[in-house]
C-alpha cells in the first residue's frame, strides 16, 4: 500500500508550486489559483494524517471540511473584489493597483 510519506511529499510539491504561483504571477486571478493550490495541499495533508494516524477522532477530516468552507467564501469575495477592480481600473494586474486608494 501507499505509505503516509507519499501523500506528504505530494502535498509538499503542490504547496510549493502554489507558493511559487502566488509570488511570481501578476494577474490577480492567477494569484488566486496559487492560493487555492496551497489550500488544497493543506487539506490533503490534513486528511492523510486523519486517515493514517487518527481514524477514531478524525480531527483532520473535520479541519479539511472547514478549509473547504473558508476557501469557498474566500473565492467569492476575492472574485467580487477583482471584478470591482477591473470595472474601476480596467486591469487585473496587481502591480498597477498598489496605491490602495484613488
Amino acid at each position: 500500500m501507499v505509505p503516509l510519506s507519499n501523500y506528504l511529499v505530494l502535498s509538499a510539491i503542490i504547496f510549493s508550486l502554489g507558493a511559487y504561483g502566488v509570488l511570481a504571477r501578476r494577474n490577480a486571478v492567477l494569484i488566486l489559483f496559487g492560493v487555492e493550490l496551497m489550500l488544497n495541499a493543506v487539506s490533503l495533508n490534513f486528511v492523510a494524517f486523519a486517515a493514517y494516524l487518527d481514524p477514531d477522532k478524525i480531527t483532520g477530516a473535520i479541519f479539511a471540511v472547514f478549509v473547504i468552507i473558508v476557501a469557498a467564501a474566500e473565492v467569492a469575495l476575492a472574485l467580487a473584489i477583482i471584478i470591482r477592480l477591473f470595472r474601476n481600473r480596467a486591469t487585473a494586474n496587481v502591480d498597477e493597483v498598489a496605491t490602495l486608494k484613488w
Partner: protein, 167 residues
C-alpha cells in the same frame, strides 16, 4: 498493487497539472489545468477511503469554484487582441528560489520525521457517518459559525460586485 500503480499515475497527473497552473502563459490554460489538479486531489481523497471529502472536492471545488473563477476570468479579460499578456512579474527568479527552497525543506521534513501515534501502513478509511457525528455533535458551534461566515461572505460579495447607480 494495482492501487499503487493508479496512485502513482494520479500523483504524476496532479503534479503536472499544478505545474501547468503556475507555469502556463495563458490564463484560460491555467484554469483548465486548475480543474485537473483539483479533480486529482479529489481522487487522492478516494485513495484515502474518505468518500465524503472526495465527493465534496468534486462538487464544490472542481465544480462550483471553477465555474465562478471562469466567470470572473471572462468578465476581466483585458484586450481583445488575442495576444497572450505577460502573466509573470519581474520577481520571477526570486519566486523560483523561494518555491524550490520551500519544496526542499517540506519534502525533507515529510520524509525524515517519525510521526507519533500508531502509524498504520495503509489508510484506514473514514466513513460518512463518522464525519457527520464529529461535525454535528462535537463541532456544532464552529459549523454554525461557518454557515454564518458563508452567508456574510456571499452578501458581501454581492454588495462589492454590484453595479452602483450613477456609476
Amino acid at each position: 498493487m494495482a492501487t499503487e500503480v493508479l496512485w502513482w499515475i494520479f500523483a504524476v497527473l496532479i503534479v503536472a497539472a499544478s505545474a501547468g497552473v503556475v507555469f502556463s502563459r495563458s490564463v484560460i490554460h491555467s484554469a483548465i489545468f486548475f480543474i485537473g489538479s483539483l479533480a486529482g486531489v479529489g481522487a487522492m481523497y478516494a485513495f484515502l477511503n474518505v468518500e465524503f471529502l472526495a465527493l465534496v472536492q468534486f462538487l464544490i471545488y472542481a465544480g462550483a469554484v471553477t465555474v465562478l473563477i471562469l466567470l470572473a476570468l471572462m468578465l476581466t479579460r483585458s484586450g481583445t487582441t488575442g495576444l497572450p499578456e505577460r502573466t509573470d512579474g519581474p520577481q520571477k527568479p526570486f519566486a523560483i528560489v523561494v518555491g524550490a527552497t520551500l519544496m526542499g525543506i517540506l519534502i525533507a521534513v515529510a520524509v525524515h520525521t517519525s510521526w507519533p501515534g500508531n502509524l498504520s501502513d495503509k489508510p484506514r478509511g473514514i466513513a460518512i457517518d463518522a464525519i457527520s457525528n464529529r461535525l454535528f455533535l462535537d463541532y456544532g458551534a464552529p459549523f454554525i459559525i461557518a454557515s454564518a461566515l458563508l452567508l456574510v461572505a456571499l452578501v458581501g460579495a454581492i454588495i462589492l460586485a454590484r453595479q452602483e447607480e450613477g456609476e
